[in-house]
């Protein structure tokens, strides 16, 4: 995210904290797609993702009146909140099933003519098959387009640790999606 984008976020959060309806709508329009996308890719389930997006904003609304511009990037803070909520749900799933969801890759064989929707499903399934921290790294860097410094901050790891997570994640994805042309 650019510095200008971060400044705009700060302005919107401060005004939203005062109950400014226009700022509230702008902020939701800017951030909801990102939060929903993050939750959807972390959790897979659309309903769970909507719940997490909603809870993330409820927390943001509680916090907004006390937001101090310049202390942290709101976008990174919001990602951290959403990720914590995602992990809460993933932990609950583990408790319910005694293991992380190990979704079988429903992908078709290499000879099938894949539609775009099928590619999306294959990618989603491959993402869900990754260990959660690797999935988080890919989602933050590739889909949420956080810089490596922002992603490392959101994950509370060093940039070097982030790089290691990304390397392992991409290696697994390349193998899982080889039939789509991910590997030479």
């Amino acid at each position: 995210m650019t510095a200008r984008g971060a400044d705009l976020d700060d302005d919107l959060v401060v005004r939203a904290g005062r109950g400014d309806p226009a700022a509230i709508r702008d902020l939701v329009a800017r951030k909801l797609p990102r939060v929903l996308s993050l939750a959807r890719r972390m959790l897979g389930d659309p309903g769970d993702a909507e719940d997490v997006a909603q809870e993330t904003f409820f927390k943001a609304w509680k916090f907004a009146p006390r937001w101090r511009p310049g202390q942290a990037r709101f976008d990174t803070w919001l990602h951290r909140v959403a990720l914590n909520l995602c992990y809460d749900r993933l932990r609950r799933r583990v408790r319910a099933t005694h293991e992380l969801p190990d979704l079988a890759d429903p992908g078709p064989g290499p000879d099938r003519n894949l539609q775009a929707r099928d590619v999306g499903r294959r990618v989603d399934a491959s993402l869900r098959a990754l260990p959660p921290r690797q999935r988080e790294a890919i989602v933050l860097c590739h889909y949420q387009e956080l810089t490596n410094i922002e992603a490392a901050a959101a994950m509370r790891v060093s940039v070097e640790a982030l790089e290691s997570l990304l390397s392992r994640a991409r290696r697994s994805l390349r193998t899982a999606l080889a039939d789509l042309g991910a590997a030479p």
Binding site: R18, D20, I24, L32, R40, E50, V119, V159, P184
Partner: protein, 142 residues
């Protein structure tokens, strides 16, 4: 930067050098310019995975979700509600009535027994009540 490090970065951050750590980006660009024979295939392989990952579309929020979140947002400070103004008016009227009753009682029950100064003091609550009648402005407009 050596080719191994270049390959490691491409394997982690993908083919878009803008996503690579800033402190290594310039060196990577120099190596890419100097040795396209080595770096080209590495970036090509990373780009293939980037493209496939990009094939998973992002979900769009529903209107219902948007509205639900907006409706839960902080509210601006409430303007004075009419009932609050009326409640203030009622309180003031009550105090004024009580004060007036006190004055009447003072006059009727023991007019002769009270020094004139006390009779004067008994009117003070009335002024207080009158002040309260002016109070509604304290509830403010905004």
């Amino acid at each position: 930067m050596n080719p191994d490090r270049f390959e490691g970065l491409a394997g982690a951050f993908g083919a878009d050098l803008d996503r690579w750590p800033a402190r290594e980006r310039q060196a990577a660009l120099r190596l890419a310019a100097a040795r396209p024979d080595l770096t080209g295939p590495v970036l090509g392989e990373a780009a293939r995975l980037d493209r496939i990952l990009g094939g998973a579309p992002s979900p769009s929020p529903s209107r219902e979700l948007f509205q639900h979140i907006v409706q839960a947002a902080p509210r601006p400070p409430a303007p004075p509600a009419p009932w609050r103004w009326l409640a203030g008016l009622g309180l003031a009227a009550g105090l004024a009535g009580a004060a007036a009753a006190g004055v009447v009682a003072g006059v009727v029950v023991a007019p002769a027994a009270l020094p004139s100064a006390h009779a004067q003091a008994a009117s003070d609550p009335g002024e207080e009540a009158a002040a309260l009648l002016r109070e509604p402005s304290d509830f403010g407009e905004g």
